[in-house]
């Protein structure tokens, strides 16, 4: 009995194997294998990254543990390392960047996809995509030599005069600040939102628009009530992409944020971000604990990105369910 089953099983793979070779010749299996290994490789790289960050930061993890996240002193001489001001700076600048870039980016993409004549839209999109290809150090230089003086002479006095009663706009403005970093970041991430959102809006079937128009909706009503909800997931995706770029941006931020590890409610005050401190101090860091703490910061940034993305995704899920109900 056992012998017969085994012979049946032995014989069974034969046609399958032949099928494999046939499909291999047709390219199916090769394509599958290539796609699979590409996907696995990405996962592997992420895994290795986390593993390496963890291993290299063990010294600091053991020394500070959870208090690394809540400590606000960064003193290489005393061997005292706390990440809170950097986490705060990263969050504040990214939030500010999105606050400016999301309305700007989504608005621009709606115009380009729905309202602008196709030729003009293509030219403008090309120019916007060029913006995304500019190296970040150029944005940093532009920030420090053009944008910061402009903010200093025009925007900051206006904000102080109009919203000066808010703690957000109090204190001395030196130019380099959370505000400047947030604004330069918003300029850097807006092209991502615009070009991805435009493609997503284009992908909404024309039938949907025509149906809405046939039911008597105006052009704007069709766009706002039919096209945008359809493209919502894609637009959210573009915002995530922008957020990821804002959280990890280094050169441009370090040039305009002031590089001072301080927590302040005012957007006028100088701050520091995680990516900026790593870039600034890594090359000259001596001492194992110092180095390990800088790598720990990298791990924290990684974790922060995951947490923020997860929270945003949950938020979307919740609001979608509410909308469906």
């Amino acid at each position: 009995m056992a012998a017969t089953t085994s012979t049946v099983l032995d014989r069974a793979p034969e046609p399958r194997a032949r099928g494999f070779w046939r499909r291999l010749r047709a390219g199916e299996e090769i394509a599958y294998l290539i796609a699979l290994s590409a996907a696995t490789l990405v996962l592997l790289i992420v895994g290795l990254l986390v593993y390496q960050l963890w291993i290299s930061s063990t010294l600091s993890i053991h020394a500070f543990g959870f208090s690394f996240l809540t400590g606000s002193t960064w003193d290489p001489n005393a061997g005292q390392f706390g990440a809170l001001p950097f986490i705060y700076g990263t969050c504040v600048t990214s939030a500010l960047a999105l606050l400016i870039a999301v309305p700007l980016g989504v608005g621009a993409s709606i115009f380009l996809a729905e309202l602008a004549p196709p030729n003009a839209s293509n030219v403008m999109t090309f120019l916007i995509e060029l913006l995304a290809a500019v190296p970040s150090v150029i944005y940093g230089l532009l920030g420090i030599f053009v944008l910061v003086p402009l903010i200093h002479t025009y925007l900051a006095p206006f904000l102080t005069a109009t919203f000066g009663f808010l703690p957000l706009f109090q204190g001395t403005f030196y130019g380099v600040s959370f505000l400047s970093a947030g604004i330069i970041l918003s300029i850097m991430v807006a092209p991502f939102i615009i070009s991805v959102s435009r493609e997503v809006l284009y992908a909404v079937p024309t039938d949907q628009r025509e149906a809405a128009l046939a039911l008597g909706a105006t052009k704007w009503e069709a766009t706002w009530d039919i096209v945008i909800p359809n493209a919502r997931t894609g637009i959210m995706g573009s915002i995530f992409l922008a957020l990821a770029r804002a959280l990890g941006e280094t050169m441009a931020v370090t040039m305009v944020i002031g590089n001072t590890p301080a927590i302040s409610a005012s957007l006028y005050s100088p701050g520091y971000s995680i990516a900026a401190v790593i870039a600034n101090e890594f090359t000259e860091a001596t001492g194992n604990l110092y180095l390990s703490s800088l790598i720990f910061l990298g791990l924290v940034l990684f974790g922060l990105t995951i947490v923020i993305n997860a929270v945003a995704r949950i938020l979307i899920l919740v609001t979608q369910q509410k909308g469906a109900a």
Partner: protein, 350 residues
């Protein structure tokens, strides 16, 4: 027909391979490749030295990566480079770590000198200011808050200083310049020493950070009432105005090649055997007080005889002929006494 083609092809291949192999072996025998890494501050003079030395001895090719002093110390300790370079001497702990790892010590060789200078932007003030050590410490501790403070005004009787707020600008990236600056402040102010200390990056009690010399210079230029510090070389090359600092002999000294070399000459007499010495706040009437050596870190035992001879030959050249090209790039050359002492110590490499 087919066979003859493939045969010809094979002959071709063999010929090409043989030629390549020949080339490779010629390359190997002709070029001794030496790798170094470390400090960014002396990188321009080192690059010049290495390319000049290649014309002295064309068999030796030295490759230098300016990755920062911390990186230089780390890489030489790991043994991934043949020599390191640093703007600050290695600490006792780092030396012990090296000794434990390799079983022999690493040697310090001072090569050239640099300095850090105070630069500022006060609207309406064009004259160069005189700073006392107390004034600099007070400003960088955040205690002296206005330019009109008597601590600054007292030594600048010919200048009317405005009651404008002082904005301190420091380097945000770790750097040898910051090490030199904070080392000086630690020597002249006990409060600085206990509160902040000396390092390539410190926990600054006041001010804003700019990335690199250009970042500090840019912020100082844009912020009225700002004071920062930059490398002397950077200030000279960019024609920046900078202040004078009172040295330990009580003289206000402008930083330049001779006043920096003079600080080293004073230190040379009391130089410890391993050359790990800070020359900030050096004695001597003509010494600029915020000066520093920069060091090459060379293992005392190099197993590869060819490499060992090449490195020794290079050191000898850098300490004699190389010194002549230092001042053209605004680096202060080593004082004569120190040169001859270091030349004697090259024999410690074996």
């Amino acid at each position: 027909m087919k066979a003859s083609i493939s045969l010809r092809g094979a002959v071709c291949h063999v010929a090409v391979l043989a030629a390549l192999a020949g080339l490779a072996s010629v390359q190997l025998s002709a070029q001794m490749l030496i790798n170094g890494a470390g400090a960014t501050f002396p990188a321009p003079i080192y690059q010049k030295w290495f390319s000049d030395f290649n014309s002295v001895d064309s068999n030796v090719q030295i490759n230098y990566q300016a990755i920062g002093s911390g990186g230089g110390i780390r890489q030489v300790t790991e043994g991934t480079v043949d020599f390191g370079a640093s703007d600050g001497p290695m600490t006792d702990q780092q030396l012990a770590e090296y000794q434990q790892k390799h079983g022999f010590p690493v040697l310090h060789f001072p090569t050239v000198l640099g300095a850090a200078v105070p630069t500022y932007n006060i609207p309406g003030v064009t004259a160069s200011l005189d700073f006392t050590p107390e004034a600099l410490a007070g400003i960088f501790l955040g205690k002296i808050k206005r330019w009109s403070d008597p601590a600054i005004q007292k030594t600048n009787p010919n200048v009317t200083l405005p009651p404008r707020e002082i904005v301190v600008i420091h380097r945000s990236d770790g750097s040898g310049t910051t090490y030199c600056w904070t080392d000086y402040l630690s020597k002249i102010s006990s409060e600085w020493k206990s509160k902040v200390g000396r390092n390539t990056s410190v926990n600054w009690p006041a001010g804003l950070g700019g990335k690199g010399n250009d970042g500090v210079a840019g912020l100082v230029k844009q912020t009225s009432g700002a004071i920062g510090y930059v490398e002397l070389i950077y200030a000279v090359r960019n024609h920046m105005a900078y202040g004078l600092v009172r040295n330990s002999a009580g003289e206000f000294i402008k930083a330049n090649l001779s006043s920096v070399s003079s600080a080293a000459a004073d230190a040379a007499e009391k130089m410890p055997a391993d050359y790990r010495v800070s020359i900030t706040n050096a004695p001597g009437k003509e010494s600029y007080p915020i000066s520093t050596f920069t060091w090459l870190l060379v293992p005392s035992k190099i197993n590869d005889a060819g490499k060992r001879d090449a490195i020794k030959k290079f050191l000898k050249w850098a300490l004699t002929d190389g010194q002549k090209s230092a001042s053209s790039l605004q680096y202060a050359p080593l004082p004569k006494a120190l040169q001859s002492r270091e030349l004697g110590d090259i024999s410690k490499i074996h």
